[in-house]
């Protein structure tokens, strides 16, 4: 990357003359700051400032309606020994890692399938987006019914296919519930990956692949040696954003299990909400929530390093 070589010193050229304002607006440093300002200001006001308030809350024993006072890392110390919190940490990781791995594989597979101009490919590309586009609360409700212990249309189908004898209690037992939520998350997230990978695949020059296949490379070799490395930047971007959404996911789990059965499917966000809003312990809830940020930061730094910006 030789971005810097092409830097143009605007002073070296005949610059538009005119009013002072026009001249100022033509300076990269002035215009640049003006143009970046709206985004920065909104994020400072509505994101950074509330975040600082949240960090402060997590250091107090505030309860709903009462400010509370500073107690240092007391809340975090309690969490450290809290089995429910430990369970939430475990499931948050398990949920995220499994969902991301599955979404990535299925999304890439689907993208490869859709990256051809077969009959009806436009329709196929548009309808595969449905899970990503439908309001999550409502599709989670629909899934809830599909996995209902008494009315599950999925169980009904499995029984008719002879794969099981009785209705499966998908959401009532710890492991089936954990896995069911991952399936629903994967269902919702595949289109996002597929879309991204489809774009990535289209950016790969066709002659590269043709040259390789003339040289007698097998499809698998082409994929491993050419396609996958070229898709790497796409992968990091898709993965980092999707991971962030999965870790901070609230709607899906809250609608389907509320963290049950027996806290088996609690994650950071549901536990934070339950502690802060339902239980009224704002400080505790904030601590649960804030404790996820260091993990996210690490993920973000990894993502940043592996994209161009970090190089």
């Amino acid at each position: 990357m030789s971005d810097r070589v092409g830097v143009v010193n605007s002073a070296a050229f005949a610059r538009p003359s005119g009013s002072w304002l026009r001249r100022m607006l033509d300076r990269p440093n002035v215009l640049g700051i003006l143009l970046a300002a709206p985004a920065v200001l909104i994020l400072l006001l509505l994101l950074a400032y509330p975040l600082c308030l949240g960090i402060w809350l997590s250091l107090t024993n505030a309860v709903l309606g009462t400010p509370g006072h500073f107690i240092g890392f007391g809340n975090y110390a309690i969490l450290f020994h809290d089995p429910v919190y430990q369970e939430a940490v475990f499931y948050a990781f398990f949920y995220t890692i499994c969902s991301e791995a599955l979404k990535l594989s299925f999304g890439l597979g689907l993208a490869i399938l859709l990256n051809r101009q077969f009959r009806g490919y436009r329709v196929a590309r548009a309808i595969m987006l449905l899970p990503w586009v439908a309001p999550t609360v409502l599709s989670a409700l629909a899934w809830n019914w599909l996995l209902n212990p008494q009315f599950s249309a999925v169980s009904w189908l499995l029984i008719k296919l002879g794969l099981t004898h009785s209705y499966i209690d998908f959401l009532g037992q710890a492991w089936p519930a954990r896995i069911s939520l991952i399936v629903v998350n994967v269902w919702r997230g595949i289109p996002y990956y597929a879309m991204g990978y489809l774009a990535g695949l289209q950016a790969i020059p066709k002659d590269l692949i043709e040259a390789a296949s003339i040289d007698g490379a097998t499809r698998i070799t082409i994929f491993r040696r050419i396609i996958w490395p070229l898709l790497w930047p796409v992968t990091t971007i898709l993965l980092s954003f999707s991971t962030i959404w999965t870790v901070t996911d609230f709607q899906l789990i809250w609608t389907m299990t509320r963290g049950g059965p027996l806290n088996a499917t609690q994650v950071f966000t549901t536990l934070a909400y339950q502690r802060a809003i339902n239980g009224g312990s704002l400080g505790q809830g904030a601590a649960v929530a804030i404790s996820v940020i260091p993990i996210m930061l690490i993920l973000a730094i990894i993502a940043l390093r592996s994209t161009r910006e970090g190089r």
Binding site: S10, P16, R27, P28, N29, L31, G32, I33, L35, A36, A39, V40, I42, L43, L46, L47, L51, L57, G109, L110, L113, R116, R125, I127, M128, L130, A134, P135, V137, L138, S139, L141, A142, W145, L146, F151, A153, I190, M195, G196, L198, A199, G200, A203, S213, P233, I237, T248, Q251, T269, A272, A276, A286, A289, I290, V292, M296, A300, R308, E309
Partner: protein, 274 residues
Amino acid sequence: MREKFGWKLYLALAAMLAFLLLPFYWMVLTAIKSQHELLVTPNPWWVFHPTFRNIIDLVTQTAYPRWFANTLFVSVGATILSVVISYTAAFAIVRLRFTGARTVSTAIFFSYVVPPAILFIPLASVLIKLHWFDKLWALIPIYTTFLVPFCTWLLIGFLRSIPRELEEAALVDGASWPRIMIRVILPLSMPGLISATIFSFTLSWNEYLYALIYMVSSANKTISVGLTTELMRGDVFQWGQLMSGALLGTLPVVLVYFFFVEYYVAGMSGALKD
């Protein structure tokens, strides 16, 4: 390299699409089933006595049209605002490279790690101070907090793929930077802008938590919030109406995608080009 699309691949594709679409098929069935048939049926994957009662009731008996209009207003507003300020920010970072551009771009990326489910309590106090609580339009700037980081990053990638020679030539011709931004780079950025637009629109259309917490009046509800707060009555859910509402609410977004999906892919691939 137009190879034959073999039946095995068709089968794989069909299996994937079946997994992705079955829940929608079920939602459509539920939307046209009576409550009785939903509970008592010999085959849950079929409808024996279809009825349009649910859809008619949803549109005439509830404030659904209003919720729909609200959602549209907020999504369009948030999308326009986010795309505009993301574009200007990305332009400043990539093309102008002002002092501190790198810091700003990193900061914008990091702002993405703050989860909304956590932010909403402290954010509420900010909104109260600003007198933005229960104002429908206030959702527009609120939504930018999660749209801007993504859009800016997408557009940074996209703008970087546009050759520098273009603006150098314009500069030599004496064009001003604002002119270059609007006349030279903007038309070339269209695919990137379209994908940012579609993306923002989808996320705003489906947002739930902020709309649920910050909007109080019935007149300010969005589709997701309206359906879940007024049709889940205690321990009796109006399944037919809920699913009708979900489908009617998905339709516009699907249409948008259907028409722009090619641009969306092109835009993304531009942004991802090395």
